[in-house]
C-alpha cells in the first residue's frame, strides 16, 4: 500500500501547522513495512492532532511523536521495512565491488596489493556479518561487533573519498564505492543501535 502525496503532506502538498515534523513522519513511513504504513502513521497523526498538540504544545508534542517513531522503528525494523532491503542491497553491492577489486589487484600486482586485498577481505567480512545480523533479526549478541564494524566502514569510506579527491588520477568508480560504503556503514550503525536483544525463542518460558 502506497501513501499518496496528498495523504502524506496534506491536500496542498505542504507541511501544515498541525502536522508532526516532516522528517520524523518520513522516517516512520520509510521504516514501516507496507502493510502497516497507512494505519500506523494515521494512528499517530490522529493522536498528535487531537490529543498531544492541544495539550502539550508544539515542542513537547513533536518530542512525543519522535519517541513513538523511535519505539515503532526499533521494533518493526526487521519486519520487512524498506531500510532492511536497502542495507541488504548495499551489502551485496559492496561484496560484488570488493570481489572485483580483489580480482583486479591479484591480476595487476600493483605495489602494496597484498595490504589492499587484506582490507578488501575485512570489508567483505563486515558486509557478510551485517547480512547475517539482518537474517538472524538482531539475535546472538552480534549487536556490538556489527555496530563497531559499521563505524569502521563509515571511516574507511570517508578516507577513500578524501584520498581519491586528492589523487592525481580521478577514478569515479572508487568514489561510488566510497559513498556506498559510507551509507552502508551509517545504516549498519543505525540498525544495530536500534536493535533490541531478543531471546532465541520469544514464546519460550524458562521453567527448568
Amino acid at each position: 500500500m502506497t501513501l499518496h502525496f496528498s495523504k502524506r503532506f496534506g491536500k496542498k502538498g505542504c507541511a501544515c501547522d498541525d502536522r508532526p515534523p516532516l522528517w520524523a513522519e518520513s522516517l516512520l513511513i520509510g521504516f514501516l513495512p507496507p502493510r502497516g504504513r497507512e494505519a500506523i502513521s494515521g494512528d499517530l497523526l490522529e493522536e498528535y492532532r487531537e490529543e498531544r498538540l492541544p495539550t502539550l504544545g508544539r515542542m513537547r508534542a513533536n518530542f512525543w511523536y519522535f519517541r513513538q517513531v523511535t519505539s515503532i522503528v526499533s521494533l518493526q525494523r526487521f519486519q520487512g521495512g524498506p531500510m532492511k532491503g536497502v542495507l541488504l542491497c548495499l551489502c551485496f553491492f559492496s561484496l560484488a565491488a570488493l570481489a572485483w577489486l580483489g580480482i583486479m589487484e591479484t591480476v595487476l600486482h600493483h605495489p602494496g596489493f597484498v595490504f589492499r586485498i587484506a582490507v578488501d577481505l575485512l570489508l567483505a567480512t563486515q558486509s557478510l556479518l551485517t547480512i547475517l545480523f539482518l537474517i538472524l533479526r538482531g539475535r546472538s549478541g552480534m549487536k556490538i561487533p556489527v555496530a563497531i564494524g559499521g563505524g569502521w566502514i563509515v571511516a574507511f569510506g570517508i578516507s577513500t573519498i578524501v584520498s581519491i579527491l586528492r589523487a592525481a588520477h580521478f577514478e569515479g568508480y572508487i568514489l561510488v564505492i566510497g559513498f556506498a560504503l559510507i551509507l552502508q556503514g551509517a545504516l549498519t550503525v543505525f540498525v544495530a543501535a536500534l536493535s533490541v536483544d531478543r531471546p532465541a525463542s520469544p514464546g519460550h518460558i524458562d521453567i527448568g
Binding site: 495523504k7 502497516g36 497507512e38 499517530l44 513513538q68 514464546g203 521453567i207
Partner: protein, 133 residues
C-alpha cells in the same frame, strides 16, 4: 520435579496433584499479550491502534510504547489469535485507513487457557512469595 514421557517433558508439582506439559506451557501468552487481548475484548468493535494503546495504558496504569503494541498486534495476528480489517480514513488522519482488530476463536481459547494455567501454577504457592533471594 521433571519427568519425561517419550519426547515430552512434564513438570509434576510437589504434591503430585498437577502435571504441566512443558510444550504447551511454552505457548502461554506473555503478560503484555494478555493485556492487549483483553483490551481488544473490552473495546469490541472500536479496537483500532490508537484506541488500543490508550486503553492498554489505562489498564496497565503506565505509559505504553506504541511500538510495543503494534509489534504485539502483529505477533498475535501471525499466531492467528486476532484478525484485522482496514476501514476508510477520516479527515483528521488525512484520509489514512484505520486497522480494526478483533479476537478470533483461537484467541479467546488462548486467553482462557492462559488464565487456567496460571491459576493452576499459583494454586499451591504461598502468597506473597517470601524467603531469601
Amino acid at each position: 520435579m521433571n519427568a519425561y514421557y517419550g519426547m515430552t517433558q512434564y513438570i509434576i508439582d510437589a504434591n503430585s496433584i498437577n502435571v504441566y506439559n512443558v510444550g504447551i506451557m511454552a505457548d502461554i501468552l506473555g503478560g503484555f499479550e494478555q493485556a492487549v487481548l483483553l483490551t481488544l475484548m473490552k473495546l469490541g468493535p472500536n479496537a483500532y491502534g490508537r484506541a488500543i494503546i490508550k486503553e492498554a495504558a489505562v489498564s496497565l496504569k503506565r505509559d505504553v510504547a506504541a511500538g510495543a503494541v503494534y509489534a504485539t498486534l502483529d505477533r498475535l495476528e501471525n499466531k492467528g489469535l486476532i484478525s484485522s480489517s482496514l476501514t476508510s480514513g477520516t479527515p483528521v488522519r488525512d484520509g489514512r485507513a484505520r486497522r480494526y482488530f478483533k479476537l478470533t476463536a483461537a484467541g479467546i481459547r488462548a486467553l482462557n487457557e492462559s488464565k487456567t494455567t496460571l491459576e493452576n501454577l499459583w494454586r499451591n504457592a504461598a502468597w506473597p512469595v517470601g524467603g531469601k533471594a
